[in-house]
Symmetry: C2
Subunit: 438 residues, 2 copies
Amino acid sequence: MGHISIPRLTHHIGQTVTLRGWVQTLRDQKHMQFIILRNPTGTVQVALEKQQNPGLAKIASTLTRESAVRLTGRVVQNPHVRLGGIEIHLADLHIENRAASPLPIEPFGKGLPGLEPRLNWRHLDLRRPESHLLFQVQTTVEAAMRNFWYQEGFIEIHTPKLMGSASESGAELFELPYFDTTAYLAQSSQFYKQMAMAAGFDKVFEIGPVFRANPSFTSRHDTEFTSVDVEIAWIESHADLMAFEEQWLCDVLSTVRNTHGEAIAEHFGSEIIVPERPFPHIAMEEAVARLAERGYTPPSEKLGDLCPQGERLLGEYIRETFGHEFVFLTDYPVSVRPFYHRRYPENLAVTKSFDLLWKGLELTTGAQREHRPDILAAQAQEKGLLLEPLRFYLDFFKYGCPPHGGFGFGLTRMLMVLLGCNNVREVTYLWGPKRLYP
Amino acid sequence: MGHISIPRLTHHIGQTVTLRGWVQTLRDQKHMQFIILRNPTGTVQVALEKQQNPGLAKIASTLTRESAVRLTGRVVQNPHVRLGGIEIHLADLHIENRAASPLPIEPFGKGLPGLEPRLNWRHLDLRRPESHLLFQVQTTVEAAMRNFWYQEGFIEIHTPKLMGSASESGAELFELPYFDTTAYLAQSSQFYKQMAMAAGFDKVFEIGPVFRANPSFTSRHDTEFTSVDVEIAWIESHADLMAFEEQWLCDVLSTVRNTHGEAIAEHFGSEIIVPERPFPHIAMEEAVARLAERGYTPPSEKLGDLCPQGERLLGEYIRETFGHEFVFLTDYPVSVRPFYHRRYPENLAVTKSFDLLWKGLELTTGAQREHRPDILAAQAQEKGLLLEPLRFYLDFFKYGCPPHGGFGFGLTRMLMVLLGCNNVREVTYLWGPKRLYP
């Protein structure tokens, strides 16, 4: 199952080894055959002098690029070989799976294919070492997030993805027949993670899929994506959440830099900067005023909010003013926030909420929640919601629900900024919505 | 946000502390008031001599059981108090959220309510320390699984839950309108994790939801559950997978025993035994023969397979014969396995597959996969499947897919056996299918 590490073959000179991997290139010359074999540990040259073993040469001559092979040979020093001064003298070759030819896309050709064909042939596109690195980074990011939570005593929950009513609003909701009734796909774990607060769990997290019936084809949206969710009880205000989140994020970025910093620089040309704490904060009202000075007007339908372009401009303003890549944008007006966000007692038009932007891209929406049942119900009605479909949710607050709050965090958006990619599709394992097979 | 640990209050004698938690009981006597305060760290008695602070006594007298409160008081030694010989002399009390009275269920009453009312009021049911422990155990189980994978160089993937065609069969499939087409909820990550193999990822895992439109109300089934999925490239046979799985599982059980063994014994009366390796193996044909000797006949529609009762009997046979709680049941006939399971070259009627049973309950189905495209397509057609909806999947095997295999593992089933519960509903955070709100 495991591989002998190709970079460590220098420790096996003179020995016979078995290697598994893919035929990245094949040169079939008059007297010699050369294979560049690739596997997740690296690439190595394999050579065969044809007259030494004509039967084996015949098998090798049937190879196609990207075929999966298992081969055996002796490790030999050869200072003329560019790949580590090492080559394998082929002794045996088994073709596990011959690649059809031509390949539908050329993952290793000069110049990448376009994004569409790459996504159509994702399993070939993912063979590039950059793609492997991307998912190694994702693995490290999540491991670091989790380790931080474990140390802080968080409990992991798996909330239902099939719901009986809309979690936040009726818009962008997938609906499906569920035996003799109707169910909806969860747009977030919002209500369910709040249930954990009502259950007396101090701190919970979940990493899981959420669904938005948004036919949008922008570079920032998806109908299905991985949401990172955190909810914490007994907070004083949303300031506790921001302090938590920035500490957590610095820890994660520090781990990513230590583990993959060099490889990310090499493959993505992106430098990981572990940000200084505390992150800059700016209230929405002030952000709008600062951006107005720079000639930005929010779209009329988003009064008191920013559009993605405004967020980018704010990112630039923060970078220029504070030399920081992150900013907590706080104190959103009630009009642009969901009913369950808590409001300032001294200013009921403003919520105790925040977004976190990284280089001008929204990663997080968070807030202290309203946990007083009468006020919560009134806020829902004020937003035009019916109380009956919310009954199960509103019941969470009737029997001793502590003050709490939390945030949701977009994993793919973070990876996008981290690696300097331009599109969530590149950092998503298999991107819909049109690409539904299988 | 954090709590002062109640068991460690003995280190704070004479000090004034602030505690947060729930009013588990309240005794309002003529001269004294006593509250038992509970939070995730434990329970402690809080006392107030009424005439010392009549205003505070008045507030305390309005308390109801399960209200969420924040209180301040002095830590005092009192050898008459059963809870650690400690009590808090109340100085201040803030009711964060008053519980309505009566409670719809009594989580701390004598005798548990029935399972239905408990699930209907899950946020109250989850307040019991056993429930907290259950989800702490789940958190530890998943952390241990992941740590093992991280050390082995696994990559974490998040596969789509919205699919364009059935992943395994058309049965038990949730279907939903997806813009101008139809999508299906993934019944497993099977095809997608195999895509990672075609992409040259060596070892991948995923923990995520899967969906089965099974209206079944047995104690072992759910329409949505958390599946633990593993897929490994370059295996020689399914024996590699079983060897991996048993090592992984022993590591997880050892961590659970070290972390929660005593608490599990106290709350669930269940002892965690880290099993000996290798686990017993038995081929299906032999299992059927051994059970026939004990008077068991498999149902005619499952010829060559066992029904749940047969699995329980096999668990008993293995325990009696080998003194072991686990058994790998191997070599299922083709008729009861999906088309993509690889077959023995010397016996094409039998698959290189296995289930893992724990105390007679199936936890895992695994197999080496057929990775040769022509044979795979032929096996699909033999099962009556159309190739066109499988096109995207079959393409994985055309361009150099290495030999591979993997298994799926039911998280809730494992927790059920681990804690000696009788029903997946008890170990599921919020159980459907009828309980769809929110």
